[in-house]
Symmetry: C2
Subunit: 303 residues, 2 copies
Amino acid sequence: MAPSPREGNPELKDALDENVQLVERTVTRLLPETDLAEAQLYDAMRYGILAGGKRLRPFIVMQSARLFNVDPARAKRVAAAIEMVHSYSLIHDDLPAMDNADMRRGKLSVHKAYDEATAILAGDALLTMAFEILAESDTHEDPRVRCELVAAMAAAAGPQGMVGGQMLDLIGENENFDLGTISRMQRMKTGKLMAFACEAGAILGKASEQQRKALTSYAYDLGLAFQVTDDILDVESDPNTMGKPANQDSQAGKSTFVSTMGKDQARMRAEMLVAQAKRHLHIFEGRAVMLELLADYVLQRRA
Amino acid sequence: MAPSPREGNPELKDALDENVQLVERTVTRLLPETDLAEAQLYDAMRYGILAGGKRLRPFIVMQSARLFNVDPARAKRVAAAIEMVHSYSLIHDDLPAMDNADMRRGKLSVHKAYDEATAILAGDALLTMAFEILAESDTHEDPRVRCELVAAMAAAAGPQGMVGGQMLDLIGENENFDLGTISRMQRMKTGKLMAFACEAGAILGKASEQQRKALTSYAYDLGLAFQVTDDILDVESDPNTMGKPANQDSQAGKSTFVSTMGKDQARMRAEMLVAQAKRHLHIFEGRAVMLELLADYVLQRRA
């Protein structure tokens, strides 16, 4: 089962494709079309979240939930909620005052397809709905589990997590961060939500502390490896592959792993992180195959 | 105890003042100063939420919780969470792409005191933290209660509530809404969060369905009366009293109660709503004095 470096493992590819369908079906059901006067808001929310993407965070939720035999009907609600939070962050990050990106995955970004006000509100609405979904009894019969999901997602997405990381990223445009600060920024900006995606399965399945710790450790290493390869792809790739102009981050003067340690060192760092991520999964004794394949994929991906 | 129309009832005034202190202490403890690289984010959050204001929503939470003997140490967490949501909405509403307001309560708005990106992120962070606070066990020992608070606040703040109302408000700049749509917009934009503030006490106190219904009915009438008097003050008041330029909404071409029904009709409508709001409180047999006084205050306020 030696995967082709360009294509990735076929088993993983099938599972990822199937997951994309699941996420889009679930999100479409949670965000139905409406003929209300404010329909534009729902349209923009759907446009922002149904704009494609690999749906990695939902995939990680579903796979980690599976390790503890969690009902997929429940796990997919958490998967949709995390994707809503991820999508809201992309919509707000693309705004003119932030990264000022007109395109996202080869399509107009939300504020270009609609307008800035609608994009701000669509992001706000997706974030708010995500918490509502977690708190509803369909997500888990035990309210303690639901509260834990809400608190953990908020911690991952808030000032100590994603939003704080985005603030650091913007500050980094005018300051030269050292490697420690870049790592901390990436851990906040993408690592914590990734870790929550992994942890969510463990929370839903009332897993042991040790299992939970193994999954979050895996996720942090995976997330950081993902970010390092993102920085590499950013300087390497052509605009068509990435769906956004290449070299965008380094042009904006942002500190990245590549700008700090160089491309070769960055690649070695990513390989080391992936190996480490997979070692954390050993306690699942081969039952976490998809999560292992996902780690390999991080080194193989071209976009 | 005939209140002076300019000053309002002195007992209410004392209680409101005391509540302002409580809210600011609680929020300050929940948002401590930091020397982290991302300190600017926390500074902007504090600047946005500690910018003054009557703290009506927290006051309503504390007063409704008191009706059911809820521990104030719990209620004040919910009060702070609602104020965070209210503040986030003001920060985002003031952005150039939305209402483009440079001033708020006589001070620079957050995007003017900091910058647009920081204002967007500070709003996002306040919203996210609000849900985290509700989900934490310090808010209530029963996780069912906490989940109910999270789901109800999300419903009040999300696309079916505040965010949807704000979308309608923006659409209304280019369309002439009828009175029904204006009422629906205001119910979504401000009524639902006001109703949640009232309902929160009932949720915390595990009140009966009838008590809960009485409180939300009170809140909807109060919220609408508040909005009608806001529209009246907007055409009447001078810039110094309101802390923002007078006549702002009607200049932007927005449909308001005054633009639709005229000032005299609007004043009568407000009086009718306040009387109706107070009638809903009769089931508390005189124990909801402060909520009654608050309803009277809506007709007396000058700002």
